[in-house]
Symmetry: T
Subunit: 72 residues, 12 copies
């Protein structure tokens, strides 16, 4: 069982009134407060809330991968 | 980063001998004991266990979304 | 609400330089250190890292189901 | 071009605090006010809104098929 | 080859004018007349027939799993 | 907002006792009676009705794209 | 349980050197020799065998639905 | 049937030479000219047109949800 | 209708405490007792049962294709 | 490593004003000019261009499999 | 075979520390060095690398379509 | 455009009479003869050829990612 890595994936939705990239950054910033070893994200879904015919928020669903164990 | 919300989605399977709706309610009731700010659910899968040619349990897989952070 | 069970599913990636089965076993062994009542796994994705044209690691993404509540 | 039928499919979301079936019925009742020749529906998605850990509304997304032309 | 089980899955559509659960029960009751060892079902598709703007029948497509061999 | 185009997609099912291509043509001919600027179609589903062990109708579900706005 | 219908779906691959429609017809003709009450088909997959850079056979995978029980 | 909402979803493609977000905004602006109560959008597909090896237009397919009926 | 082949696909789940390959072999061995002309298999799903944090059984769902008719 | 075969799959779009089959044939004829050992194709997508409410071109996306290595 | 076009699709991953659009542009710029007649792209997957809780790179997987033959 | 990487993905099918892992290794070994900078693989499909009720070959379809450009 030497030389193996174990990762966990969680599903998070970030939002932003500005852009898709900003919604991703907000989600990562929030996760980074309490979780360690975040390594990658995958965009699962992109949607948004409309107010008065305009985008009020982009809502981006991410899977975030983090290292939970490493044996060298 | 003002005016952003972050949500987390978890995957839960509820069961019930009565109905699909009852399996959903059982899953939510169990989650509500320890988790806060549950906001929505999505049915991912519906299946069940058969005994003597009849439905013994409906088993409903849900994704449950909860608010984990809100900046106004 | 009698006779209902509630399960949770988490998403884990195990790795191994040896085989797909070994990557699954490594992921389960790691989860078993801190989680209880693991009941089943589902293979979601199989991929790997290549070094010098050979498989360096198999990386297997699993959903793992565990019992979190049981009323009899 | 004799003996052909043409159908249109629209996508509607019905809701109900009671059940999945009631959400479907509400969607059909609303469509039936202004559309004719509704022939079948397909459930595309089932989700719901949670308030205080309980189902506030079931929300069922349907595709509804209707006959728009028939040549015999 | 000791300690292995083999299952077969078949695809069945049950219908009912009453509910989704009743359509599932009707499908299982019909299969149970001629097949043995039915163990589980998975809902693959839910649709229905509309007459006069109302649900005439729910039609639920199931995969049904049955044990066909068991070595202990 | 100069130099942008907006398209709408609708979902139509055409049928024909002759061929898949004829079912597509029938669907387009029917849409062309009332809609303008049809630009492309995508085949979403191909199925058919069987009578006496033979194909009675091919039924082809299409998404049809049409231009609804153009700014040059 | 009055007024319910039960259908079975099977998966068949028909082939033809001529056309996709001919491969569908061949599959239905073969099924019709031993099965009754064939009602509809759904095209699941279309592929083919190539010999000398030309189509040797179209191979069309169908799900075929048949009535297995009807209560009026 | 009190306390139910019915929504309709339509499928629209917006384009922009500038960005994915701008293509979304253009699609919403066009829909907002003739439709009311737009509430949310879902990104279904992102693609684009290439001229001289550069992005000429981003083309974003959206599903747009709008409220068509509300009983309180 | 000369030079056409018709195949049937069935869905089988094999299991093994040893490996994914062994679960596939067990499923084929069981089918081969009663069915003829098995030609290919497709892995549809790989999952397993966990006991005491270890793999108790690999469960592999296969579609198995068999020739049911051949005209030369 | 004896007795193994390696195949490559490429993705090609053929078009034809006549039929789906003709679009497939055109794609294969073009590939056959420069590639060898084409063995099978899989239809991935079928769409088309509309001019004046009629099909101008069928556009069929294929994956084409070819043998690139064979050890006996 | 007159009036037909043949296209090839390749799968490319572009990356950028700045934005999703920039990752797309980088992928196209790289392809444009050696390939001709690039006509469109489709976003297949969007993910990224995380360093210190921030996006280090956006990684966008594209299918890129190019004209390989045109008969007028 | 500094600090960007571009990757290409190709689709390869490896085969082996021994195991799924061996089919993957054979595919990589063949690609490594002519291609450079292979970095990862993704298993897309696992199937096999049956002879006399036994697995004659495992056939594993892989997407293989390779670095085609790197700017530091």
């Amino acid at each position: 069982m030497s030389d193996s890595h174990t990762y966990k994936k969680i599903e998070i939705i970030g939002s932003s009134p500005k852009s898709i990239e900003d919604a991703i950054k907000n989600a990562l910033a929030e996760c980074n407060k309490t979780l360690h070893n975040l390594e990658w994200f995958e965009v699962v879904d992109t949607r948004g809330h409309i107010v008065n015919g305009e985008v009020a928020h982009y809502q981006v669903t991410l899977k975030i991968g983090m290292l939970i164990q490493s044996d060298h």
